[in-house]
Symmetry: C2
Subunit: 341 residues, 2 copies
Amino acid sequence: MLHIVVDAMGGDNAPAEIVKGAVLALNERKDFGIILTGDENLVRAELGKYKYDASRVEVIHCSEVITNDDVPTHAVRSKRDSSLVVGLKQLKERDDVGGFVSAGSTGAVLTGGIMFVGRLKGVQRPALCPAIPNVRGGVTLLCDCGANAECKPAYLAQFGIMASAYAKAAFGIQNPRVGLLTNGTEEHKGDPLHQEAHGLMKDLQSIDFAGNIEGRDIMYGDVDVAVADGFSGNIALKSIEGCGKTVGDLLSKEFRKSFGSKLAYLCARKQVGKLKYMLDYNRFGGSVFLGLKKVVIKSHGSSKAKSITPSVLQAVDAYRGNLIGMLADMLAETAPEGADE
Amino acid sequence: MLHIVVDAMGGDNAPAEIVKGAVLALNERKDFGIILTGDENLVRAELGKYKYDASRVEVIHCSEVITNDDVPTHAVRSKRDSSLVVGLKQLKERDDVGGFVSAGSTGAVLTGGIMFVGRLKGVQRPALCPAIPNVRGGVTLLCDCGANAECKPAYLAQFGIMASAYAKAAFGIQNPRVGLLTNGTEEHKGDPLHQEAHGLMKDLQSIDFAGNIEGRDIMYGDVDVAVADGFSGNIALKSIEGCGKTVGDLLSKEFRKSFGSKLAYLCARKQVGKLKYMLDYNRFGGSVFLGLKKVVIKSHGSSKAKSITPSVLQAVDAYRGNLIGMLADMLAETAPEGADE
């Protein structure tokens, strides 16, 4: 049976919300199992709160936890018995394990992923790729959103290839349109990094390049993939997140102001709820770490159960949708000789 | 009497909406006049549609228009009789002119502003600085949001100084808190540009530096000023714009779906309207171009009258709030010798 490893100790709400989210995922579908890595006593205490098929759950005890205060590169080397490192090693070593989910330190997931799972052949830099809901009711994949603060033009071109494979494998988008996120739509816009990346992407046969796009096109445009350097991609993602949170807060505040506005809320709650649902990108799961030999998913550090559940199911779907195979194929088609570093 | 120059031919909706917006501003306050630059026949035809005090309006005929298809550096040199260049020259030469507003080509406003109005002493790079509504009901100033796609650390530090002066002069914020927009809050985050800028800003006595901030903090955090390089600042601004537009569209769509949802809208329209108002950053006017010897305001290219009116009033307020004097003082306090380039 396919297994997904869940880092039970990663994130602000571990292990309670992580275990709960994993169990909910398990109860939603019957065709996979879960391996929880973490402090066995704590994890079993949380598991004890729920009903589930115990034959589909493994717990692997680990004595250490990597926190956000740890220096990632040091932590993944020194904390060999941490829930994160042990989990990644399970992913690497076991054929029945198809994916790994963690809400822990982003830096440690990235460093550990590269170190213990390894890059696919031809990948220059793996990249984080979340799915952001757009105005068309679909998603726009934003790649990279933070794994690589400093990029070279060739990395950006490869992000376009990897995210296209992801759009096909996980979202069934046949011919994903790929835009390059810059400060204007004209071809000459951007700094030298993005100008040069534009030139490379225009020549790529394997992607459908739509040219430069602006920040507003992530949610409002007609591309399926927005390619970004990790620095500005991260800023775009979090700007959208802040705007969404602000809207939600202001709306709640308005509807709570008076008896009349509370009544208004009763009338409009269905529509407001629908809006909140559409904007909630947690329902698409976490950010996939594209470019590794197996499926690694980074869930938000503040993830609660309702974010962990879709992350686990996303790992199942990405595995079954043959994400890794498609990535490998598209990279092999386009990778220049000697692109490995 | 104080005059504000308005480029009547700049933007997608010129001259109709520009003239309308200028007249509305005129009729809102009695203590200033307007100079419209543009095709006199067209401008007078638009003016003829409204009631206003003709003694407070001048029209200066120009035979040319700079469009978004023009190359900015070339256009401001060759189209000397364009509404933009003639307007900027009025601003430069006349003591009774306190500000300039255009919804025309951003590049041309920036290039023309530097060429014809000139930089304040000590300014390395002027920067565009819009005001973005935040969850606290106030504004966060985002500087730079697109004037400088490529920056040096010292530019970023100076953006912090200029935007602080703007926060004081135009928004009455006594002690503005300044954050540096990067991909994480920890001090070591970001690329070398932002790491070095962080070091410079930490040492500045003239600003209240709050450290690194993330994209979500623009609307959701507790800073008054977000300093950004023009590339990622532009991406942040437009990502927020796209998210706001998406929310507005989805909400309208939900409320239009059925008879029941239309009824729900009737109940909730006051709250939804309030939300839209709070998120509408056009009500704060355009982006001030900070660092010039006089007040230059760039209104959105798609500006309608309701965006031009606050931009004109913003120019009046910035002039009367002594923005330029405060900028000059803060720059003189902190500018290192020889910072002029």
